[in-house]
Structure formats: C-alpha cells, structure tokens
C-alpha cells in the first residue's frame, strides 16, 4: 500500500515536472518561488487553497487571499505531514503539498473567471463541484461549456485519480483552452473594522476634499475623518462623520460624488493602518477660502499643503 502510494507520488511528480514542458508560454509549475505567508494575495494563494482543498484540509472558498482559514488548513497539513508547523508555505511545504495533491488550474481559473461557486475536492467529479453563482437556479453541471470536449474528459480522469495515478494530468488541457487572462483573486484584504465600502466612501470624501493636495495631505484628511470617529465630539461612524451636515464642503457641494483615483484610496488605507500626519487633528481648513471665523480660534497643529490642521 505504502509502496504504491510512493509510486503514485513519483508518477504524479513526474507529471508535474513535465507539464511545464507541454505548455506554451505560461508556466503552471507547482507554485512560484515565493514563500507564501498569511495576508498574501494572488495566483499562488489560489493554488495553495486548491491543493489544500483537494486534500480536504481547506473547506473555505478558493478566493486567492491567504486568510485565517487558509492559515489553519496549512498548519493542519504541516502537522499531518510531519513538517515544522509555522503556517508559512516555504519550499519544503510546497513540495510536499505538490506531491500529495493535484491542482486543476484550468478548472479553478475558469470557475473564478465565470464567478461560479465551486470547490476543488479530490476524488469528486469536478463538474458537480461548480454551480453558477448568479443565476442561482439549475445546473450543477457545466457540460458543453466553453472548453467543449475537454471539460467532459477532465472530470472523468479526476474521478479516477484516487484509484490510479492520472497518466495525463488535466493541466494539459490548458493550452487548448481559450487563453483568458486569469482574473485576479475574488476577495481582498480589508483592515479590521472596515469594509471595502467604508474605504470607498472615505476615498470619495478624501478625493472630493483634497484632490489638488499632495499625497501626504490626502492621508491627513483621511486621518482627520478617523480622528473624528474616535473623538467624543463627533459621530462614532465613518458615514456619520462624513455626512454630518456642514462638516465637509465636498459633501455640501456634491464633489464627494466624483470618482476617486487610486491615490485617494491608498491614502485612506494608510490612515486606517495608523498613519496620522496631522498629529491628532480633528479640524482642518483652507485659510484662503475659510468662511468661518470660528475655525481660526482652534489651536493649530501644522500646515500640510493648503490645509491648516487644528485641534
């Protein structure tokens, strides 16, 4: 039994090594060289999750973000396979994982591109593991899809896999498949306590308020919003602070609904991650356009770009 297992592993690993040779420009070697750690995002994480799922360690969604569930799955894998349990997918761990599992990249990428709900457990018909996400009703099967014959053939091999080594890994189908650029992960890291929508809303406000300012000035505006959330004198939510009547000119004149650029979003992320260039300011104003005399009475901390920040 054990011998047989080793044989299977050997053949599998040969397959895996051979696959890249049969590919055109894109390599599907098991993982790239990087050590994958908690918080990482990308193709390697998709592969890691798929492989862990193949072995039954990972039961979550294959979304390309190395989150806590992936972390525990990886640690369990390391424990079961007698590796040092560090929660890092380093070279040894990756090799062991690649040997022990299979990864049908084409299937996974296709499902991700289509936005389907799917899983990648070993020993099960892959077609039964995918369902279109949006239409909701109907087909558990995906037969006769974009890949035509290949799609029907691949699952058959997949099913046979646990019994006998697949003499022809599914990855070979990939070159024939339409060369869709693989879509990026279907999820994203978000800082604790904030949703992507919160970040978007803040980016809107920051962009509307300070799009002509240097980057640091934008981080500063975002930091003021967060300082206000913390402050006892202001509402306790991001939306509450932003939409507080007469608090931000950009909200009053509708500039908040301009589409923010990436820089504004990055500034917001920086502020959320603890950067506060203002020294805990909760007010700021542009001395050239400020209409309120009262604002001048606030103790000033510093000036960044055109804005003066104060307590």
């Amino acid at each position: 039994m054990n011998k047989r297992f080793i044989k299977i592993l050997l053949i599998l690993s040969v397959c895996i090594i051979c696959v890249p040779l049969s590919m055109n420009e894109k390599t599907v070697d098991a993982f790239s060289n990087q050590v994958i750690q908690h918080g990482a995002v990308g193709d390697d994480v998709i592969e890691l999750q798929s492989r862990l799922q193949y072995l039954g360690f990972y039961t979550g969604k294959i979304d390309g973000v190395f989150g806590w569930r992936t972390y525990w799955a990886l640690r369990n894998f390391q424990y079961e396979f007698g590796l040092p349990i560090d929660g890092l997918a380093g070279q040894t761990t990756k090799n062991k994982l690649a040997k022990a599992s299979k990864y049908n990249e084409q299937f996974v990428k296709e499902q991700i591109n289509k936005g389907n709900k799917f899983s990648h457990y070993g020993g099960m018909d892959l077609n039964k593991q995918s369902a279109p996400n949006k239409t909701g009703g109907g087909g558990t099967t995906n037969k006769g899809g974009a890949t035509g014959g290949n799609a029907a053939k691949a699952p058959a091999q997949q099913q046979a896999a646990p019994k006998a080594p697949a003499n022809q890994p599914q990855q070979q189908a990939a070159p024939k498949a339409p060369a869709n650029p693989p879509k990026q992960p279907t999820a994203a890291n978000v800082p604790a306590g904030f949703s992507q929508n919160d970040i978007q809303l803040m980016a809107n406000a920051v962009y509307g308020e300070s799009r002509g300012e240097p980057y640091i000035g934008q981080v500063a505006v975002a930091a003021v919003i967060l300082n206000r959330v913390d402050s006892a004198s202001f509402p306790n939510t991001v939306s509450g602070v932003i939409f507080e009547p007469r608090a931000f000119t950009a909200v009053a004149d509708g500039q908040i609904w301009l589409t923010p650029n990436e820089q504004a979003k990055e500034a917001v992320l920086d502020a959320i991650n603890g950067y506060d260039p203002t020294g805990n300011a909760i007010y700021y104003f542009n001395p050239d356009t400020a209409t309120s005399g009262w604002i001048w009475t606030r103790p000033q901390i510093k000036q960044i770009g055109k804005h003066i920040f104060c307590k």
Binding site: G39, P214, P277, K302, K311
Partner: protein, 449 residues
Amino acid sequence: MIRGILIGVLALGVAGTAFWGYQEHREKNAILINAENNYQRAFHDLTYQVDLLNDKIGTTLAMNSRTSLSPALAEVWKITSEAHSDVGQLPLTLLPFNKTEEFLAKIGDFSYQTAIRDLEKEPLSDKEYAALKELYGQSADIQKELRNVQHTVLNNNLRWMDVELALATEEQPNDNTIIDGFKTVEKTVDGYGETDFGPTFVNMKKQDDGYKYLEGKDITKNEAKKIALKYSGFGNNANTQVTENGKGSDVGFFSVSVQDKKTKQEANMDITKKGGYPIWFILSREVKDAKISLNDASNKAVKFLKDNDFENLDLFESSQYDKMGVFTFVTNEDGVRIYPDAITVKVALDNGNIIGFSAEEYLRSHHTRDIPKPTITAAEARKEINPNVKIMDEGLAIIVNDLNEEVLCHEFYGTLGDDTYRIYINAETKVEEKIEKLQNAEPIFEDVV
C-alpha cells in the same frame, strides 16, 4: 394668419415654460422639505433620547439589586449613543456644541464601564454613586434646555434649513432662535466642569498625554533633517524643509519633507523633539507591479526595524493590499507579546523599499514594564472559554482592556464555524477581557471595477 400661429406657438411656449417652472419649483420644495424633515427627525429624536436618558439614570439610582443595575446601565449607554448619533445629524458643526457631545460621551463611557463590570464582586463605590447622582442632575438641566428649544421650534414653526442658512452665510450669525437655544445648552454643560467620576474613570478619557515614556535630549532642526535624510534613503542630493509643530499640539515635533532632486520623489516625516524618535514616515511614489513576495517584503521590514534600533519585535500581522505589503509588529518581551507597542511598516512590492512607517502607538506606550508572572495556568484559562470554540494556538500577551488598563492575559486563537477568534483570558483573575473576531477577506463585488 402667420401672426395667429406665432401667437399660438408663443402662448404654448409660455404655458409650457410656466408648467415646467412650476414642476421644478415643486420638486425643489419637495427636496427642501425632505431635508428639513431629516433635521427635524434628528432634533426631536435627540430631545426624546435626552428625556429617556434622564429617566433611566433616575431609575438606576433607585436600584439596589445588582442584577437589574447592569442591564439598566447598559440601557443608558445605548441611549447616549443614540442621542450622540442624533446630534451628529444636525447642522451644528460650526456651532460650539462639542461640550454637550462630550458630556454625552462621558455618560456613555461611565455607564458602559459599570455595566460590563461584575457588580456582584465589585459594586458601585460611593464615589461612583455620587457621580451617577450628579449626572442625573446634569442630564435634567440639559433636558430642560432642550425642551425649551423644542418648544420654541414647535410653537414658532422654526426651520432647521434656516439654521443651516444662517450658519452658512453668517450674515446674521447670532439671532437665530435655534442657534441661541443650543448655545444656552452648551453654556449649561460648560458650567459643570469636570465631574469627578472616581479613579477608574479618569483613564477613560482618550489618552492624550503625549509621549511620556520617551527618553533623550531635545534635538535641533539640523539633527531632525539628518534623521529624515537617513530614512528617506535619497542620499545627499535632496532638498529638505523642516518645520516645527504649531501651538495646538501636545507634543513637540519637527515635520521634515525631503525631496530627491533627481527623481522628484517626496518623503515626509515627523520626528519627536525629545530624543529624535520617528513618529511616522511616508514616501509617496507610484508603485509598479508587484515583483517580490509578501514574505520577502516582511523580511525587508524586519531588517529595516533592526537597522533603526527597534528591538524585540514580533511580526504580528501581514496583509497585501494590491502592490503593497503592510506589516504590524509588536514588542515581544520574554515570550509575552505586548500589543500596545505596535509599529506598522509599509513595503512596496515592486522593489521592496520601505515606503511607510508608523511608530506612534509604540512611542506612546513603549517602556520597561514589570511583567507579572501569570497566577493561573493556560490550562485553567482554557476552561473559561466557550467549549464550542476549537483552540488552535495559545500564548501570553499584554493588552489594553476596556477599562484602558494594561493587563496580562492568556491569548488563545480559536475557530468557531468559519471564523477565527482571538480570546484573551486575564492571567490573574480569569476574566474574559476581550474577544475579537478576526477579519476575513472580503469578497470583491462584481460591479466594483
């Protein structure tokens, strides 16, 4: 004939315009009314909540049984938070109304703190009881003033839109009844001064005592410049500009901006005057496609901290945001993680350069601590945890609890269903100090491009 047609067309046109104008007018009115209604709702809601608040505080005073006191205080806490949110919806930002808001926050904090405390073991002290009584009286005053304003508003059909207009134009800033009314409320609260809430309560105010643990001599502008140059890594071919903090800041710092003459890249940094510690550093540049892994980046961050004499730090969290890696480090002293001592480092994943660094929390809290020995074992602490949680990992940590005190805890990572939790059990009292549900990755919505 032609004249007839012309007149007809013109008449139609006039009628059409009139009709269109009327329509527009009606729509505008509808929107105005809508906005006005929102203000009115918030305002009346506020007065209602303050009424309720006063009632509730009154009842808690009469309570003796601990079991009913806790829920009642929790109720007070809830009401203050709602009243607070109502204030936030009124156009009062440019009006000095923050004393009242702070007052609300104070009652909220006080009631929260006492509500979560085990009043069986640690009943309300005489001082706290007195504080509660005082709060009762003060909330009655606010209630009275607000009712007064409410009465005038209702009686004279006052509109909040006018308040907004008055505040916006500032032509006649002080003769609006509502504004006057709120100013009176504010003045009333102002008169209370600082209520004495007992020893634990003082801590609850946002700690803003600057960087009291910092050591070292004050640095000069020139030294600050040198430090910033070192962090930026631009070499000597750079323009620098140093400014001192304004009068409003509690701590002395220099802000330095450095610009590379060649690449025009700009780095900004704040440095404490005392000791010359870096508070934060940001290098702004466009980051190209990610080339190095998050793990490589974390190694760079570790090296960076070591190079800058930040020692005994543990990587605590790492996250990749698009083309950037953000890493949080905390102090590790003899195997105890000290969470208040946090530093974040931001690394660009295109070339592994450090593009951001923030040590604000670290500088505020880092000092030599006497870490007590835990009096209860990890196994004992484990028993305090919900049996449905599957424990995955454990360790010792110092955290800041809800009362804003540093406490030594057994830290457990556990899973329940699909979620991972961090659970802190006090290593001396077995109290469950904190439970955090750790953030999961959030699905990207299809429509977001």
